[in-house]
């Protein structure tokens, strides 16, 4: 067959991409402390261990607080930036937007180290709050990229029409613009949430005494007997991610169906 080489390549590529993730649940339910075949038997022990681990619980709560705050803050900032980028013209706009988007390509370790130096220099105590600051910095460009797309497809006359029909600028925003960019807002919040949830470097540098999920997982990798529990944790996280993405895609498509807009591709 003509394309068999390409097909094989695609297959291997997908295997390389997903096989490690598929191994997570396999070992998470395996009744043995060593991560190796052959499998020993079925157990839920690791999940039980995970549920009763206090540090892990703390890490999870911290990570959720950080990710949620990051999602809300960077999406809010992103809405302002995207609105200004798509709607207004002002001097130095390209430069300002470029600087805002720069953290997208800046090495994270540089961002983390310089943030650490500055925050300590300002006399701030490292906590999950400082992690939130760092995460907002790196997640906002992503939020802007997603929201820019949502705002730029809006016909400017929609706003003018509402204004012309007697609404104020604020009620126009609430009644017309907000509903139409909601799918973009959900996408943006979700993306920021995901970026923050698995971010390691900034969390490692700026969390101080606190733990987040990634830093906790990293710290536990030193202890071989903890590894099956990490597998169980990984399984739960993968499952949660799939559910989140599915939800986001559902909302995105529902938004499209409601406004009759053309589908220009989403996450899935």
């Amino acid at each position: 067959m003509k394309f068999s080489g390409l097909r094989l390549y695609a297959l291997l590529y997908l295997l390389f991409l997903y096989a490690p993730i598929l191994l997570l649940p396999v070992f998470a339910f395996n009744d043995g402390t060593v991560i190796a075949f052959p499998l020993k038997g079925f157990t839920l022990e690791w999940f039980g261990q995970m549920a009763s681990n206090d540090t892990l619980g703390r890490a999870l709560v911290n990570s959720l607080i950080i990710a949620l705050s990051t999602a809300i803050l960077s999406t809010t900032l992103g809405i302002f930036a995207a609105r200004s980028a798509t709607r207004y013209h002002y001097a130095g706009k390209a430069g300002v937007m470029g600087l805002i988007m720069l953290p997208l390509v800046l090495p994270e370790i540089i961002v983390a180290v310089s943030l650490l130096v500055v925050l300590l220099g300002m006399g701030m105590t490292l906590s999950i709050f400082t992690v939130i600051l760092g995460h907002v910095l790196i997640a906002t460009p992503y939020a802007i990229a997603v929201l820019n797309a949502a705002f730029s497809t809006l016909d400017q006359s929609l706003e003018e029409a509402a204004y012309d029909l007697g609404e104020t600028k604020w009620s126009t925003f609430r009644l017309i613009i907000l509903p139409l960019v909601t799918p973009g807002i959900i996408s943006s919040a979700l993306m920021a949430f995901t970026i923050s949830l698995d971010e390691f470097i900034i969390a490692f540098f700026l969390a101080g005494e606190q733990v987040t999920l990634p830093t906790y997982i990293y710290s536990q990798l030193r202890f071989p007997k903890q590894i099956p529990m990490i597998m169980a944790l990984g399984t739960v996280l993968v499952l949660a991610s799939v559910i989140l993405l599915t939800l986001a895609e559902y909302f995105r498509r529902r938004g499209l169906a409601k406004t009759g807009a053309k589908d220009t591709g989403g996450f899935l």
């Binding site: 029409a161 029909l165 009759g260």
Partner: protein, 376 residues
Amino acid sequence: MNQPAPKAAPAPLESRRKMIEFDQVHKYYGDYHALRGISAVIREGEFFSLLGPSGCGKTTLLRTIAGFEDISSGAVLIDGKHMEDVPPNKRPTNMVFQSYAIFPHLTVGENVGFGLRRDPRPAAEKAQAVEQALEMVGLKGYGARAAHALSGGQRQRVALARALILKPKVLLLDEPLSALDKKIREQMQVELIKLQREVGITFVLVTHDQEEALVMSDRIAVMFEGEIAQLADPETLYRRPASRRVADFIGVMNFLPATVLGEGNGHVQLEVAGLGPVDITDDQAQAIPTGEPAAVGFRPETLTILYEGQTATDREAPGVIDEVVYYGDMTYYDVKLDGVEKPVRISMRNVFGREVLDVGTRTRVAWSPGALVLFR
């Protein structure tokens, strides 16, 4: 050309109230001078068109009425009131946008009723008003439909109903028909005229389509480069364009080089290439000094090709047919008049039993001095 329904004699324009006044309106975008001292009056109940090529400032001028554009100097008055500090949501105007700007996440009924949100009337009354507005534009029973599922023509109707439900003093239409295909556009032109007469609201239409402007308007302002080149009723605009540029923009006009020989007593004597000496009245002419080169213009339908045995009622000129374009009901002949290099276009209505002439035929052309307009 499509014909509007016969007009009932309306009150003469001059006796009607001034609905919109532009007084020396200037608008700058940075260094760009978009509106250059526009002064005009639009009367109550008038169907007024702003006609011009893209970039001439017609849309900008319309948007100064709506309040979407601030003016740099001068004044815009609506119904006698200065609009300087009045935002769009407080002006007695509503607009139909070029893109229609139908809110895609709302139903047809919610779109039409959008402007009534701040209306204190009970919900049942408002629903009735929406139903009436939909009926007026021929969309009765469409209220519950999703707005994004409508066709172009239907969106246009929703946009109209949505603007008219607020009973504005002035309805502004920004190229409302340009997105529709020809058949629906012509149908909507007629419907718009009827609707305008029915509601009696002042309509201000922006268009780049001269035919549309001629068909629909009571008066037309032709704009070039931020200035009004001519403001007149369609017939005057067509028959007595004020400049070569206006003449060229509205329909087809032939031009022949001419020289002014002399003037006096309300008459101008000319020597026209291909036509010979001509005497016209000075309302057909721009003021041009004697001896200066000029041009006369005339519409294709003011000339007639004479068949064998026919004689001109007025004057005639010899020539050769250079090109023939057959349109079914009409035939366009390009004729080279003797002594003129550039052919003139002549449109002839095809009559049963009369043959279409061939290229190269030697012919005579009947014309009349009264149809000529003299330009600089």
